[in-house]
Subunit: 145 residues, 2 copies
Amino acid sequence: MEAFRAFLRDHNLPVTAQRQAIAEVVLESERHLSADDVERDLAVRGVMVGTATVYRTLEVLVRSGLVVERDFGEGFKRYEPARDEPQHEHLLCTVCGNVTEFSDERLERMTTLVAETHGYARQRHRLVIFGVCPDCQRGVRTKKS
Amino acid sequence: MEAFRAFLRDHNLPVTAQRQAIAEVVLESERHLSADDVERDLAVRGVMVGTATVYRTLEVLVRSGLVVERDFGEGFKRYEPARDEPQHEHLLCTVCGNVTEFSDERLERMTTLVAETHGYARQRHRLVIFGVCPDCQRGVRTKKS
DNA sequence: CTCATTGCAAAGGATTTGCACTAAT
DNA sequence: ATTAGTGCAAATCCTTTGCAATGAG
């Protein structure tokens, strides 16, 4: 939050109410939000921000390094605050769409090795495990978040 | 190819020229084609098929189990013939978009274990390693495929 | 003949862009 | 004052759908 204001100032970018509201929503969220989730969350808080502004600000947040963009192949992107953990993977519930994180250092090594083997200069990797979360297995949650 | 015709007959689906042409392109390809690639490849062969038909036929091919749908987070889906190899991962060149396959049985076990640890009923996983392929490192290929 | 497929164009969902207007510095 | 940000609507990209015309069985 404060870090974002600092980033904006350092880059001579105007610190607007919209930008701060969007940053607040994303940075304080525990979840992996879609652009639409962000806009809706803002609306709930009584703050109306244009869709274009949401997208544009998410882009700035990503550039600032404070937020990470994810694509789980759902047809839209999700955003999560960049926490300290350098690298982590995701478990995606195919029923309710909830996301759980985990990390495994072996993956880092394994993927680097595989890339080298094929002559690739590795940049990054993405692992998503699809399954049904505990709640949905009990038939609790039915749909969406 | 013949297997696809058999699938269509078994399911009382008309064996049309378009379906056969599309199946031929995808099943004989060594690459991971987008719907657009398929349509373009057909055009090159002098066969004009409507976009909707391409998508609809790809869906049938996927249902038949002869083709697998992939999403590498590029904003569109790719299709590859389902070869014998039960499970394999992908290396995607971020410069030219080319895809290289590899497999590692450890991943299967690792992901199942991780899912269990978090109470998830594992269904499948997806791993993509992004990097720069050998050709692009040498500055050969410049863009797209 | 009968019903599914085809093609085109319109519709859709997510995201981007052009542009007049407003606000930050 | 300047310059960048904002909102709205139009535009894009990939994919899907409605519907009349067409073709397979």
